[in-house]
């Protein structure tokens, strides 16, 4: 039984990581071929950093992801706090359901419906370009929002509701109580929501494809558009770099996160022994 589970785990990791390993290996290939490995070279990395158009789309993607994550985190946190404080239970669950719609909706429907809305609005006001960076950003914020709300709401429910009340009892204004007491309690949820929003925005192809306008293409769209010819190995190099950047970020957050919680636990233990 134990060996069976080991084999199963091994297979699972193989299927998960074999594609990444192959991509990584061929990004160092000397030739253009994706089938024959003819020798180690950094050629495609050099090519990548010379390809101004691709780098521009990388920059676009990052700018978009940072903006979308920032705005949707602020809006999502505010929305979660608002939903949590609603008195009517029915209204609250109705709002809960409504905010989940963009999450459950297939991307392609969200994409097409947003495009139609933007074009309709553009025609109404007589713009030459109804799609642009702003429409892309609005679309990204829309599909990121529910994920942020979903991360923050449980933290609000975990929090002792009397905490902000106590702060206000001791003379805080409601605004200050929120910043000083409530927000630090919610922070893990807020940050997880932000990271999720960032990665979702970074990944998105379908919705961006429909809502992007002149002069602002994102990386996934550029890669897709290469399919008339073949995707060049430059993209393998780029994917390898992105993979390692994300891996590093993950490692940092996991390692520091653990030492932090360990410190917290030992502090609690000390407190208990003192008492």
């Amino acid at each position: 039984m134990k060996t069976a589970s080991k084999i199963f785990t091994g297979l699972m990791f193989l299927f998960l990581f074999a594609p990444i390993v192959i991509l990584l290996v061929f990004s160092f290939n000397e030739a253009k071929s994706t089938s024959v490995f003819s020798g180690f070279s950094l050629r495609w990395y050099r090519e990548l950093f010379r390809d101004t158009e691709t780098l521009k789309t990388v920059r676009n993607t990052l700018v978009l992801a940072v903006c979308a994550a920032g705005v949707s985190t602020v809006m999502g946190t505010a929305a979660a706090v608002g939903i949590d404080r609603m008195r009517s239970k029915y209204l609250r669950s109705a709002l809960d359901t409504v905010t989940n719609i963009p999450m459950i909706n297939p991307d392609i429907i969200t994409g097409i419906s947003m495009m139609l809305m933007f074009v309709f609005a553009g025609r109404l006001f007589g713009f030459a370009n109804s799609l642009s960076f702003s429409t892309l950003l609005i679309a990204h914020i829309t599909f990121c929002l529910p994920y942020v709300i979903l991360q923050v709401l449980p933290k609000l429910r975990q929090m002792d509701a009397s905490l902000p009340e106590a702060a206000m009892d001791l003379g805080c204004t409601p605004w200050r109580a929120f910043w000083k007491v409530e927000l630090p309690e919610l922070l893990p949820g807020v940050v997880t929501g932000m990271i999720m929003a960032f990665t979702l925005s970074l990944d998105d192809f379908v919705i961006s494809y429909f809502t992007t306008g002149t002069g602002f293409q994102t990386l996934p769209i550029r890669i897709y558009n290469m399919t008339k010819k073949t995707v060049t190995p430059k993209m393998y190099a780029l994917a390898t770099i992105i993979f390692f950047v994300i891996l590093t970020l993950l490692l940092i957050s996991n390692l520091t996160g653990r030492s932090d919680s360990q410190a917290l636990n030992s502090a609690k233990r000390e407190k208990k022994t003192k008492n």
């Binding site: 030739a31 253009k32 071929s33 994706t34 089938s35 024959v36 090519e47 010379r50 390809d51 101004t52 158009e53 780098l55 521009k56 920059r59 676009n60 990052l62 700018v63 940072v66 495009m115 933007f118 074009v119 609005a121 553009g122 006001f125 713009f127 030459a128 370009n129 109804s130 799609l131 642009s132 960076f133 702003s134 630090p184 922070l187 940050v191 990271i195 306008g213 002149t214 002069g215 602002f216 293409q217 550029r222 897709y224 558009n225 290469m226 399919t227 008339k228 010819k229 073949t230 060049t232 430059k234 950047v245 590093t248 970020l249 940092i252 957050s253 520091t256 996160g257 932090d260 919680s261």
Partner: protein, 386 residues
Amino acid sequence: MKKALLPLLALTLAFALLTGCGGSSGSSDAGPTQAPAAEDDDGTLTLNVYNWGEYISDGSDDSFDTVREFEAWYEENYGQPIHVNYDTYASNEDMYNKLSIGAVSYDVVIPSDYMIERMIAEDMLLPLDFDNIPNYANIDESFHGLYYDPEDVYSVPYTYGVVGVIYDANVVDEADVGSWDLMWNEKYAGQILQFNNPRDAFGTAMYRAGIDVNTTDRTQWDAALADLLVQRPLVQSYVMDEIYNMMEMGEAAIGTYYAGDYFTMLDNQADDVDLRFYYPESTNYFVDAMCIPSSCQHKDLAEIFINYMLSEEPAIANAEYIWYASPNRVVYENQDYIDEMGEDAMSILYPDWGDFAAKYNAYAYRNLDSDLLDYINTLWETLKIN
């Protein structure tokens, strides 16, 4: 937890800032509340170009960086800085959808022939002012009067190509080579790759049977389906750009694709593969041409750009990058280009066409009405599913 996330946030921000400071496109993009202005605040002109992906020399491998060179050339000659927004699309239909819904505006687009015909019919293209495009004289006369733009008013040819059959000489007997019949040869069952889109796949069967590929007679399409059903047990798989890897690796021995793309495969073939190419009796021709869509904001700039693309240096660089044939005389008569391509490539890309326009008008795919296209799609599903 709070402390733990700080470095992560800082890194993310730093990364975004580092890559973000390279240009100002994020902030200079016109929001939906304003139409794009011809000039930015600092007097920089903007030209929006919409082209196929990987369809321009982009500076890789020390090649000519067409877009950047144009910007420099323009500023030098006209004394005003210009910024080119260069966007790409994956298919004619993608481009058509974006433009027809009125969602975006571009100054230059490069559609294929049948799409140009459709866009002209729907008033989506502007007539060109050829006084601004003197280099149009470089285009060979055989590219005048092609069916999609019979009066040569709306388009300037950019590339053209012909579909041929690619085979692995280590597997295929030379005696079997020469016509579409190779794709139906039972000797090579399981070694054949067919197109994975209805128009091209039906095309192979129709050229082979001598049927007009633009026929509106449904019984002819049924006949082509019958041929494809005969071929189906021999086919290894239906592919589009997967064909590159499969032919290069020798996983399949016979396939059909564009002449220019054959050279890409030849470049990357494995040691035990010997790819060769030939044109069957009749086959598909296409032309991609530069046009100005009606949503264009600066027609004069667009014409200057088209004229620049026809001049010697960019035209040769693009032809070498794309590996498709060029209708431009300064390209295929240039000795450096001929030497760079090599004799074999030149003879495949530029054979003696005879009367090119007549062949082209007879064999190129045309836009079919949507009822017929629906019917073809049903036939295609029959082939793929049953």
